[in-house]
Amino acid sequence: MVQINLPENSKVKKGNYFKDKTGSKNLRKVNIYRWDPSTEENPRIDTYEVDMNNCPSKVLDILNKIKNELDPTIAYRRSCAHGVCGSCAMNMGGKNGLACTTPHADIDGDIDIYPLPHLKVKRDLIGDLDGLYRQYQSIEPWLKSNSKSETSEIIQSKEDRKKLDGAYECIMCACCSTSCPSYWWNGDKYLGPAVLLQAYRWIVDSRDEEREARLKKVADELKLYRCHTILNCTSACPKGLNPAKAIAEIKKMLATANL
């Protein structure tokens, strides 16, 4: 159901202000969404003045700097810091992306950092992705080749392998799904761009023998057709993939297939 306003317990309040202590002339204000599960309080926005003279180029560097030097209580996910693991997906300057690959120079004015949109917040910048992982599980993202021997190699032509380009690179960071308004309003039923891109990846895999069953499975009003080509997903993807096009391709296959 479309709910434009945030629920009462999710309304964001003004938080603390951390003034710069270094005396640097090159400061930027960083506004960060905070929520502490151990209190009964609403989420708040804390503002930090960060000395940009001693800060590397990415948004994750700012967060690390804040955690190390200004406020150790701030919580966020991060691991590889090279755009491979997908842990540090968050909303920066109003757009989803990976903090480790987003340059803070690309953001004008104050730097606003929020968790991925429309998720239950676990703490600060950490959103609950359980629902998305359950949906990912529901499309059975593994190779199904019952008739073929499990000990010998399944040969794939170069052309067939090429079909997986643009789909297999997905790191499941959830930037796309949590940027999608359709997923915000119908996330309990609509699979969302991340999962549909993976559904597509297994549908077009020449080695997979369950193509028809997979197509039938996503051919559901809410599971697939809630995509209205808003393209927030494609513009959010930090790996430059195109989930919206993959969804369109599935729709095309369903329109032309004789299931």
Binding site: I4, L6, N42, G93, Y114, L119, T229, I230, N232, A248
Partner: protein, 127 residues
């Protein structure tokens, strides 16, 4: 515990871009058009009530507010048509690249405004 966790901000903070603007406008103009068609049907059926009623409507439509509504509806219909063509092309699997979708989105926005002005000018010259 379950309900204590807040929902992270979504539409309040997410930045708009051409494609999302066209998409939401497509929905809004769609709803406006349905209402408009109902009103046009009502207008047509009011004709049955005779000349005096027709003149009242005529008077209203010639007022500033009436003209504003007519031009607004012209834009809303044109926007819907252009945006629908864009959707049709996308249904064929084309135009999903970010740059292309931005250009087609701009064509829809600017095109609908230009066509509305054209319609207005054509109307002016003929009446």
């Amino acid at each position: 515990m379950e309900n204590k966790e807040p929902l992270s901000p979504h539409i309040q903070i997410y930045r708009w871009h051409i494609s999302s603007l066209v998409s939401i406008s497509h929905r809004i103009t769609g709803i406006v058009n349905i209402v408009a068609i109902t009103l046009i049907c009502l207008w047509a059926s009011l004709l049955l009530l005779g000349e005096s009623k027709y003149e009242t409507i005529e008077f209203f439509l010639n007022s500033f507010l009436g003209k504003f509504i007519i031009l607004g509806l012209t834009w809303s219909f044109l926007f819907q048509i252009l945006s629908e063509i864009r959707h049709l092309i996308m249904d064929f699997g084309y135009g999903f690249e970010l740059q292309t979708s931005k250009i087609t989105g701009l064509i829809v926005i600017i095109g609908s405004i230009v066509l509305t002005i054209t319609f207005y000018l054509i109307g002016k010259n003929f009446i």
